[in-house]
Symmetry: C2
Subunit: 270 residues, 2 copies
Amino acid sequence: MRVAVYFLSDGTALTAAALGRSLLTQFQGIDFELHTFPFIDTPEKARSWIDEHIAPRGSDEIRPLVLYTLADPKIAEIISAAPVLDLNIFGSFIGALERHLGRPSSPRIGQSYGIAQSEDYERRIAAIHFTLDHDDGLQSEDYAHADLILAGVSRTGKTPTSLYLAMQFGLCVANYPFTEEDFSRGRLPGVLRQNAGKTVGLTTTPERLQALRANRHDSAGYSGLRRCTYELGEADALMRGAGIAVFDSTEFSIEEISARILVRFGYRGK
Amino acid sequence: MRVAVYFLSDGTALTAAALGRSLLTQFQGIDFELHTFPFIDTPEKARSWIDEHIAPRGSDEIRPLVLYTLADPKIAEIISAAPVLDLNIFGSFIGALERHLGRPSSPRIGQSYGIAQSEDYERRIAAIHFTLDHDDGLQSEDYAHADLILAGVSRTGKTPTSLYLAMQFGLCVANYPFTEEDFSRGRLPGVLRQNAGKTVGLTTTPERLQALRANRHDSAGYSGLRRCTYELGEADALMRGAGIAVFDSTEFSIEEISARILVRFGYRGK
């Protein structure tokens, strides 16, 4: 069974697409064909979008799904009049919110992610640059200014996770790769000991680490299973000895690991 | 007016938080106090969450809002029985989807973002590494392998936008900073000319560029208004001369610029 699905918005359509993907994972065995259309922000655009994308689908066995966030009810009405399964995300909640809050909403188109020059946004961009400047052990003398430090051996997901935390939550995240020098010293480097309260470890299984390293590098020994087992064991011992929480990234995406790290630190959004 | 808002999920709660923030932007003049709780994935966790966070709010003037994505209807029922404004995201759409698709949903907890080891996920991680390895003009001999190339003078948002496109859409994005050498040569460097079909320009206003540069650097002349005006003008001429689309990042967030770039290239998600 094949079903066309459209995520539509007057803004970036990120919210509609994220929610839509979540909902569709609850239905197995259907071949969903996904399309995303941002910036449908006038009645004219909505009408020509229907003419171009929905009208030719008249012969589909199952009518297309359209899941949308549209602040302007006039544009939403145009979509809902089309021959589709109409999933109006804002429309489903705005009424209840208006009644509960005792005031009408004021439609603001495409505001989902705020304004590029807001303070919050500047903070996110600054966090991305901080995180890049403190990737892979760079500028570790600065760790006092980091919100979080991710530690682990090479290829445990430190860099993507750091960047995600910076981009999504505006956190300044440094990351530190353990090396043979740390292992032979037998204790955490000073820069981590001094910042242990905001340091988090990442680990994985030796088999997974070997696979990840083999994909990317070829240098002799680096991706051997014995080498991976040794490094993970040493890093684990160093971190646990210092009371640092260690998260296993084997089964989890960077979004999931990030959410778990934030729970651990009691971060609740703002 | 102050209202407590909770975003809750059995997974990362990213979808609930993104949708919730969009909805709340439609209500001005209310002081929303936002909290995010991921991984509420058992009835026990839901009950103790209510005891800890909702029960003590009995005296709030306005009952708290709880906006949630919970795949398991049994957990959702526990939340909806609490003294809150119950905004059940999945519950609002699953019924209509089941009827339309003619089959029941099979609740899958915390699957919103898929499994860490899926092919799609591996692609995103590889894209992040590609993007980092090709940041700021690095390895430009590789541009044939990039999905997109962002070009522009320093501090027009190339790096954060590239990383966002890699992280969110799994695209391998290189970025190229124009330098005096390019301007004096008076035409695009060969690596961009050979890949003009997938190159996009980023620009901003001289005033904005000056402010961005002043924040980050201090080297003489680099952030002068005259210098910024000159560089932006030269870069613009080079790119427009080669038929490259140029996007102005002054008023837009990286999410918005990214969505606009993808529209231009006809990218519709997959």
